[in-house]
Symmetry: C2
Subunit: 303 residues, 2 copies
């Protein structure tokens, strides 16, 4: 399979590296890592075993790549305004677009620009951070769950999932992408938000009972809003507890938004916070703690 | 009147300075400002006019002061464990104790240690900050509202208030100290909390609609809890709007807790947050945003 990775950050480099190692023709659209990767390839430091790819197809311009079978979108959502410029050269009628970005609204934007039929969404439960240029660190977890946005051909989805699995990616499919997206928000909203706000890794939140309680309360607000969105089956409140347990296993992990703030990048507040709040509001549900966290995060950018 | 100022911070130095200028025998219990004040006196930089007191009674040990007519307590509440050591040498049967400290629980502690009859409470709507040693800056407002804790002799209170007014302090009395304390919390909880958390002065909160909305929501939670505490009359919700207007007039003001955090001091979380939350909980009222803010502030101290 010929695959383009658009958004070669901690997520794109890791999955792209696995897909190339698994025998696919992978092309990475690169910015800051370009020189290092062209010169020395890509090194993946992983809890599942390190590996090095000495030769990597790195590009600065998507036109160099040409059309592909699959575009894997790992861009930060604040770069979604560049979709048209970055993806158009990669598309043929056969091309599928898989977005593994955070938050809500990404499939909608891609569908509007390029047609809903080719859009597949997914969430990654992946703890990874970028290292020095040309290096990516896989610290924990790694499961990808993918689902069709509108296309009802589950065969296509199973086939894509099988390709990922054969490259060593723990990939599953979901018949309810919306539910899966909201499940990911149950993690993203408290941890990305609180860790970015407080500039603390997840372990520090988990060890203080009042903060652990706050994390759970935020999770329950998200679950309650999710369950008004017409899911195929509700997310049980116990999902919050399983996410707390999952996070206990992560150790000293910094969520992406904390790193974005540390490095002075824009925060993914619209996709991860404002859009879910809006979806909640449309169904008449208030999310007071999520709204407070959102206001606090936005206020961090004020000076 | 012979007055001891215990807790000579931005509040104690300012009101103590006015009381001395007004003809009272004022003794300041000092720590960091001791050398500067003994050497060069006290300078008050005030929106109402600067003044300098070349000779000031400064002390490091309360035993040097002996007994007084009035002890004015301006200590940070986390120093309340030192009440016995600091106040005992100052007390004769006639001695009144006025606490202008933040939050809830100060009168209770003083009453338990020294007898409820002599305790008077008060709140100060004062914007002042310490400058270099021996200097205090009065930036805005300044009103003091005092009330009896248990003593029903309003004559004593009026007489004290009149002494303050004759020293140029805008002093009023309240027949309901509890209500006045909660009114002050309507300001202290959002502004001390959010400014300390975000390390931003009040003006930055006020200029962003989402933060301004959050400030008001926090205020309304405090008002709702206050109105379950058996006040003589309820605090109207419109009090929140008057506090927002009041704060608009402050400009670039840093609340004390923001400065405490900047300077690495302990934060007054028990008196300003945890005790009010507990009083609310006893009356069956949840204050979700106040509780979240409290957890976030406590988490700031975790590393």
């Amino acid at each position: 399979m010929k695959i383009a990775i658009v958004g070669s950050g901690a997520l794109g480099l890791y999955y792209g590296g696995l897909l190339q190692r698994g025998g696919n023709e992978v092309h990475f659209l690169l910015r800051s890592d370009y020189e290092a990767i062209i010169r020395s390839g890509l090194t993946v430091h992983s809890i599942n075993g390190d590996f090095h790819l000495p030769t990597v197809n790195g590009h600065k311009d998507p036109a160099e790549i040409g059309d592909v079978d699959l575009v894997l979108v790992g861009l930060k959502t604040f770069a979604n305004s560049r979709f048209e410029e970055l993806l158009t050269p990669l598309l043929a009628p056969r091309t599928q677009i898989l977005t593994l970005q955070n938050g809500l609204g990404n499939e909608e934007t891609l569908a509007e620009l390029f047609g809903a039929e080719r859009v597949i969404g997914g969430v990654a439960f992946l703890c990874s951070n970028r290292g020095e240029p040309g290096h990516v660190h896989h610290l924990a977890a790694g499961r990808v769950i993918i689902g069709e946005y509108l296309n009802s051909d589950q065969g296509r989805l199973e086939s894509l999932s099988e390709s990922f699995r054969s490259a060593g990616i723990d990939c599953r499919t979901t018949p309810d992408l919306k539910r899966t997206r909201w499940e990911k928000l149950v993690w993203n909203i408290p941890y990305n938000g609180l860790c970015a706000l407080l500039q603390q890794s997840v372990d520090l939140l988990m060890m203080v009972p009042a903060s652990r309680k706050l994390v759970r309360e935020l999770m329950v607000e998200v679950i309650d809003a999710a369950n008004l969105q017409g899911l195929t089956k509700p997310i049980p409140e116990g999902y919050a507890d399983s996410m707390l347990d999952f996070t206990d296993g992560m150790g000293v992990y910094k969520p992406s938004m904390q790193i974005d703030r540390e490095e002075g990048r824009e925060l993914e507040i619209p996709a991860i916070f404002r859009t879910p709040l809006e979806y909640g509001r449309k169904q008449g549900i208030a999310m007071p703690r999520v709204e407070m966290l959102t206001a606090l995060l936005e206020q961090c950018g004020v000076s």
